[in-house]
Every structure is written in structure tokens, then in C-alpha cells.
Symmetry: C2
Subunit: 153 residues, 2 copies
């Protein structure tokens, strides 16, 4: 389960990725279009900027932009910034792993070993998906519903 925070982030990033022109977008616009509480979105965007995924410009004509092409920003990165490690168990976290005190032996804990496998799978999937995929699938879905392939318009 990803947090609502991360979901909001993906929506906002998707919106920025679709926003063809390189023009920065305003927090207020993003909040309205994606129906995200303004102040909450603010905090999310700051985190993303600190995480290197967004750049911002203050002052008139300012706003937020992607810091890289959509195809280079992985979901893994976004999730890591907002939800931190996706480790299924605290003892499997990449940064700051916390060993369970009920576990006598970390390396031979069966639960940990199988969950490590789950973690690897999730990581691989999130690493293989980018904002470009997100945008593309939404576009495909819209096209499919209209009954016309996207490129035939």
C-alpha cells in the first residue's frame, strides 16, 4: 500500500509530465486540477524538489517543473522520496534498517528471507516504470475507450 501522499505526488507529476510546454506550473493549478488539498500538495512538492525530481522558481512566472525528462524519473524514486523504503519488513530497509528484537538471528530468519524476495520483485517493478509510462497508459486507456487507437486521430 502506498500512502496517499505518494499517490498525490504521482498525480501531480503525471500532470507536469503531460504539460507539454516547458513552462512551470503553479501549485494552485496543480492542486485544483488534481483535486489535492493545496497546502498538503505544497509539502509534497517541496519533498520532491529536495529529492531532485522537481525544480522550482519563485516570483512572477514561477512554479514547478520536472527536473528531468519523464522517461528518466522512475516510480521507485518517487516512492522512495515520499514513503521512504518500500521494505516489507523494518529489517529489510536499505537506509537505517531496524532489526526486530524478537529475532535471534537476522541472516537465518525465514520470514525475512522470503520477504526479501518480495522486496526485490517490487523494487524491480518500480524501477522499470517511469512517469512516461504512467502518462502513456492513461493516454492509451482514454484512446481505447473512445474506440480509436491514439495514433489514428
Amino acid at each position: 500500500m502506498i500512502s496517499r501522499k505518494t499517490k498525490y505526488a504521482l498525480q501531480a507529476l503525471g500532470c507536469l509530465a503531460e504539460h507539454a510546454s516547458g513552462e512551470p506550473m503553479l501549485i494552485a493549478d496543480l492542486a485544483e486540477r488534481e483535486r489535492i488539498p493545496r497546502k498538503y500538495l505544497e509539502a509534497i512538492l517541496v519533498a520532491l524538489r529536495k529529492g531532485g525530481v522537481l525544480t522550482s522558481r519563485a516570483g512572477r512566472g514561477g512554479g514547478y517543473q520536472l527536473a528531468a525528462p519523464a522517461g528518466e524519473i522512475t516510480l521507485a524514486r518517487v516512492v522512495a522520496i515520499l514513503d521512504g523504503d518500500i521494505a516489507p519488513l523494518p529489517c529489510l530497509a536499505d537506509t537505517n534498517p531496524v532489526r526486530c528484537d524478537e529475532c535471534a538471528d537476522l541472516d537465518t530468519c525465514g520470514t525475512r528471507l522470503v520477504m526479501l524476495e518480495v522486496k526485490r520483485t517490487v523494487s524491480a517493478t518500480l524501477d522499470g516504470l517511469t512517469l512516461a509510462d504512467l502518462v502513456e497508459r492513461a493516454r492509451d486507456a482514454r484512446a481505447r475507450r473512445r474506440g480509436t487507437p491514439d495514433f489514428s486521430i
Copy 2:
């Protein structure tokens, strides 16, 4: 991230799976061996019994047993019993999906579409792992550490 509840469940189930003889095990023993708060474990075992993974017998000589061979109990099933759906988004839950009210259109939400992929991956992984795998990996890890393959003893 799986809950601590599910982690406790997997440890207890692993313990039962290793417990060679078909004899039932007592809650108190399980709690002590796996260092799980006794009363908390109690609630977990009840849930697992209701979920069909365990059987229990009251009275003297009673206790808990696996309801099926370890190789037939998947992690997916255990996680589902204790943590419910593993859906990364509420709108992707199998049972009782809740659509986000900020989403105008469920079927063309890019975030949902990419997360659906993540969910499928996780489900497939958890479906492919059983308690027997859990036990086996722990055994392998112990053997590997001793520097001797398990079968050479």
C-alpha cells in the same frame, strides 16, 4: 510493508511447519519460542484458524496445527487473512474497493494503471511462495553458514 501482525503470523506458522511431529503446539510455547506477546499471538492464531490455515484443539493435549501441508499454504493467503488486501491503492482492492474521490475517472487514471502492475507483481510473488519455502530458506541459510550443505550431515 507488511504489518507486525503478519510477521508474527509467519514466524509462528514457520515454527509449526518445522515442528515435525503432527502434535499440536501450545500458544504459550509458540509465544516463547518466537518471542511474541502471548495474548497478541492468540488473536493472530484465531484469525488464522478462521481463515482455514490452522486447526485447533482445546483441552489437555490440545494446541494448534497446520490445517494443510506447509507446501500448500501460500504467503498470499496468510497476508490476506491478516493484512487484508495488499492493494497498493484503495481503488485496487479486490474486496471492497474504494474509489478515490479526487479521481474523475477510474479507468484512465495513470497512477492506478501503473500501480495495478505493481499489485500484480506482488500477488504473483506471494502466490508463488509457501510456508515450505520459508522453512527451507531458513534451513539453507543455517546450513550455508555452518559451511556444510544441509544434506551432508
